[in-house]
Amino acid sequence: MTSSFQVVLIDDDPDLRKLVQLTLEFTAGWEVTTAANGGEGIEAIRRVKPDVAVVDFMMPEMDGYEVCRRLKQDPETADIPVVFLTARKELDEVKVAEIGARGVVVKPFEPGELAERLLELCGGEV
């Protein structure tokens, strides 16, 4: 894993944001920018141009699908891999693929295993 790997994490739960940020920064050495909602997250992604965007699926106002749709419509962010975080096991994998997301990490997850799972989903591009 490289130390310059950039992640933008969008999740409306502040405790989970802090836990995931700490875990990815300390265990993987990645740089993590966090956002509490879809609007802030899209701004952060446009600014940071991360190697991967980790997006909570169910958020108020703008859900993960909408965040992903907007990112894929914007030529500046269309190529950034999007991985959904979700507690919803029934999340439609076909729809996830259709909308251009790289995959799903189902909550609950072991924070220490998240970096490995993201690497798997991104096909080792990170």
Partner: protein, 124 residues
């Protein structure tokens, strides 16, 4: 505590313990949000209250295990399922209220056990 302060003065283990502590300390507020929205719904359907009830329970269900709070998952799941149904149907089944209040008390009891430090230590 700001993250900058934490990084300057605390190590990884202490930071993790602080994040766990903040999660633990915030649990009563989450339970109170669910309780308050339930009491609004008991007076009649309110979309905002239904959404808050559903989302708060759903978020807790997803977040708790990452903090070792596994005992919270079952009652949070039950509340999530009820809240989702009420939110999507746009109505509250008043006949379910007593049972839902009981489920909320189960969640509260689980929170109290977790907050007492019996599980979920960051060092585990």
């Amino acid at each position: 505590m700001s993250r900058e302060y934490a990084e300057d003065f605390l190590g990884e283990d202490e930071l993790l313990a602080e994040i766990f502590r903040e999660f633990r300390q915030g649990l009563p507020e989450r339970v109170e949000q669910i309780r308050a929205s339930l009491e609004v719904l008991a007076e009649g359907y309110d979309r905002q209250a239904a959404e808050l009830f559903y989302r708060t329970a759903h978020t807790l269900k997803g977040t708790a295990p990452s903090f070792g709070a596994h005992e919270l998952v079952e009652p949070a799941t039950v509340l999530t399922e009820v809240g989702k149904r009420w939110y999507e149907e746009g109505s509250v089944n008043l006949a379910e209220l007593a049972a839902v209040r009981g489920d909320l008390e189960l969640l509260n009891a689980a929170v109290e056990r977790y907050a007492s430090g019996s599980e979920g230590d960051a060092s585990e």
